[in-house]
């Protein structure tokens, strides 16, 4: 070996410091059984309650990260606060004008109508009735989806965890400020009873599940399609129209009205609204059951489709 090589031979130098393969194998053999359990072991001691607590903290942390990620964009948050307030004020005045011309339209008086409009705007943003907000399509296209699949957590749950964080941010930065301005500017109705308020609060949670369930299915279609934008646009229109956000579903005539009342979209805006205003026909329990049923159906459908989507990716890589 000559001393003045351009590339000193690091391989040899380094190998000398490495343990021999026999040592490695022996060390590994001695180490093999305890090592996999060294982190899992701490879990075993926790018991059922402790594990549930750890799990809750984990999902809390995931939702929180999702929320903080959005709050990093300060200018966007500020702009959305302002634009939602402006939109709410405009739509509130529009509703007042319409109901001044046609009092009692849809069985609403003008207070109910303006309440519907202001509250509806808040629900639309919080539950992303305009569609999207689940970045599966982008991740499928870029291949980042692989990162999601090597995480030791269920795929659908992960995205639900992110969605909870997003909804919290939208609630705080879009719905609440606009709602407060609405309360100050207009004569809004409040829930008549504590029961109605409680039912409304419950329905918000279910509305989030239904909204997520719908948008998740749409997002999953990206596994089968090269261009996702068409599905996205159509689904957003349908969801907006049938949610009751543009017009109360009770205004839909005849068969369209019947169908609209059965579709899941109403569970996102119309049902929480009805519970708030106390205009549910068959009582709050039925309305909540309607939401819960759709939430369950959609989440189960999402789970089944997730398994197929992952299978498709894993088996065909397509």
């Amino acid at each position: 070996m000559i001393p003045d090589r351009a590339n000193p031979p690091p391989a040899q130098a380094n190998l000398a410091t490495l343990p021999a393969p026999a040592e490695l194998a022996a060390a590994a053999a001695a180490d093999a059984s305890p090592r996999p359990t060294r982190l899992v072991g701490s879990l075993g001691r926790l018991g059922r309650l402790g594990r549930a607590w750890e799990s809750a903290r984990m999902w809390g942390a995931i939702s929180s990260a999702s929320a903080r990620r959005m709050l990093r964009y300060r200018a966007a948050v500020l702009a959305s606060i302002v634009s939602n307030i402006v939109l709410t004020v405009l739509r509130g005045h529009l509703a007042l004008a319409v109901w001044a011309q046609r009092p009692g339209l849809a069985g609403y008086d003008s207070t109910a109508a303006v309440t519907f409009t202001v509250l509806g705007q808040s629900l639309v943003t919080t539950f992303a009735v305009f569609g999207g907000m689940i970045d599966i399509p982008w991740r499928v296209r870029t291949g980042s989806i692989e990162v999601d699949l090597v995480r030791p957590l269920g795929f659908q749950r992960w995205y639900l965890g992110l969605e909870v964080g997003r909804a919290a941010v939208y609630l705080a930065s879009r719905a609440l400020p606009a709602g407060i301005v609405g309360v100050l500017l207009f004569d809004l109705r409040l829930p008549r009873t504590a029961g109605a308020a409680a039912a409304f609060a419950m329905s918000l949670g279910l509305a989030l599940l239904v909204s997520f369930g719908l948008r998740y299915l749409v997002a999953l279609s990206a596994f089968w399609m090269t261009d996702f934008r068409g599905v996205q646009a159509v689904s957003a229109l349908v969801m907006m129209f049938f949610s009751g956000a543009i017009l109360p579903l009770v205004l839909f005539p005849g068969a369209l009205g019947t169908v609209a009342a059965l579709l899941p979209f109403g569970a996102v805006v119309q049902t929480p609204m009805d519970l708030y205003l106390g205009t549910v026909d068959d009582g709050p329990v039925r309305a909540l059951a309607f939401q819960a049923t759709w939430a369950l159906v959609l989440l189960l459908a999402g789970q089944t489709l997730t398994a197929r989507a992952i299978r498709r990716l894993v088996v065909q890589n397509g």
């Binding site: 942390a61 990162v147 894993v314």
Partner: protein, 344 residues
């Protein structure tokens, strides 16, 4: 040396992965063709090994890793990692392995790097004391302190890679796969990542499989090298064995006192002349010493340098020259009267 199969954590036997390509050849007519990304691949990795997985682009390296982590099923063959079937037991396996997918990051790009680590602690349920201890150690080894509170999207490539490596190793996985961990990195980051990998492998006994194009990675890290091309494993052994087996050439760069016509030296040939600088190629098995003295005796030598064969060249030679038998002849030679030729 113990080669008992119970110590092996990765077992790949006769694994083939076929992709179906559908090409549209006309209106409503499609042509189907099968592409073998990996073909009859067999190898096993023992616990605590650090293996370099080499091969040109499209050779099947990433396909292999995808199968090992369970996000791609083999078309044929058997695959076991830590006793699990990766694609069927993907989530269970995910708790026990770490993956660094080149440029695809598991980090939260909008949040400070630390937030990604904190979330990993929650997801893998790392006990707080252990997490702090690990993180402190990694911060020091990978020199993360100056940017751990910076949002990931503002980090340089090298900083992000150091973050990704930390994320993969924090839960103390048994096996870590790294796909091109040093590609495009600055010198400092490369060195940090290399010494971190070497140390973790040595001290924690973590099994590491890394793909790379970087010869220095292999030389500094990998006792064992596997070379794949066109989906087939062409070599499995040490780097020195690979060099010996392929033969290949080393280059001697000499700077002379003044420009000269191409030198004539036995055992070497001039491949390039640029002013007073000349490049000579000689067999990788030969010693450079006699060559250097021969040059020095006949020419006004100012400076010289010896270049090792690049891994790309070695790999290319492995597949473009005559197809070599799967095992070096020196190993299988049953005749003890013909000892294997000495290495170098």
């Amino acid at each position: 040396m113990t080669l008992s199969s119970d110590a092996s954590v990765i077992d790949v036997s006769e694994v083939t992965r076929t992709f179906v390509l559908r090409r549209r050849t006309g209106w409503m007519r499609r042509e189907r063709s099968d592409v073998h990304a990996v073909r009859d691949l067999s190898f096993s990795v023992r616990a605590g090994e650090m293996v370099g997985y080499l091969g040109p682009n499209g050779a099947g390296k990433s396909t292999t890793i995808k199968m090992l982590v369970g996000i791609l099923t083999p078309s044929a063959g058997r695959l076991r990692v830590a006793g699990l079937d990766p694609s069927r037991q993907r989530l269970r396996l995910a708790r026990r392995i770490g993956v660094v997918f080149g440029q695809r990051s598991a980090l939260w790009s909008d949040l400070p790097l630390r937030d990604s680590f904190d979330l990993i602690q929650r997801i893998y349920r790392i006990p707080p004391a252990r997490y702090r201890q690990n993180l402190d150690e990694f911060i020091q080894l990978l020199d993360l302190a100056s940017f751990i509170d910076t949002p990931v999207r503002q980090l340089s490539l090298g900083q992000r890679m150091r973050g990704s490596v930390t994320a993969a190793f924090l839960p103390e996985p048994e096996i870590v796969y790294l796909d091109e961990p040093t590609i495009g990195l600055d010198v400092v980051s490369k060195a940090a990542v290399r010494s971190f990998l070497s140390r973790t492998n040595r001290e924690s006994g973590t099994t590491i499989l890394l793909t790379t194009h970087d010869m220095t990675d292999v030389e500094q890290l990998c006792r064992r090298v596997m070379v794949i091309d066109h989906g087939r494993l062409g070599f499995d052994g040490t780097l020195d064995e690979l060099r010996t087996r392929i033969g290949g050439v080393r280059t001697l760069r000499v700077d002379l006192a003044e420009p000269q016509p191409a030198m004539t030296i036995e055992g070497a040939r001039v491949v390039r002349v640029d002013g007073a600088r000349q490049w000579l190629e000689f067999s990788a098995q030969d010693s450079a010493a006699p060559l250097v003295s021969a040059v020095a005796a006949r020419y006004p030598l100012v400076d010289l340098a010896v270049g090792e064969p690049a891994i790309e060249d070695i790999v290319a030679r492995l597949y473009t020259t005559d197809r070599l038998p799967a095992v070096p002849p020196s190993r299988t030679d049953p005749d003890p009267t013909h000892p294997p030729s000495p290495v170098r």
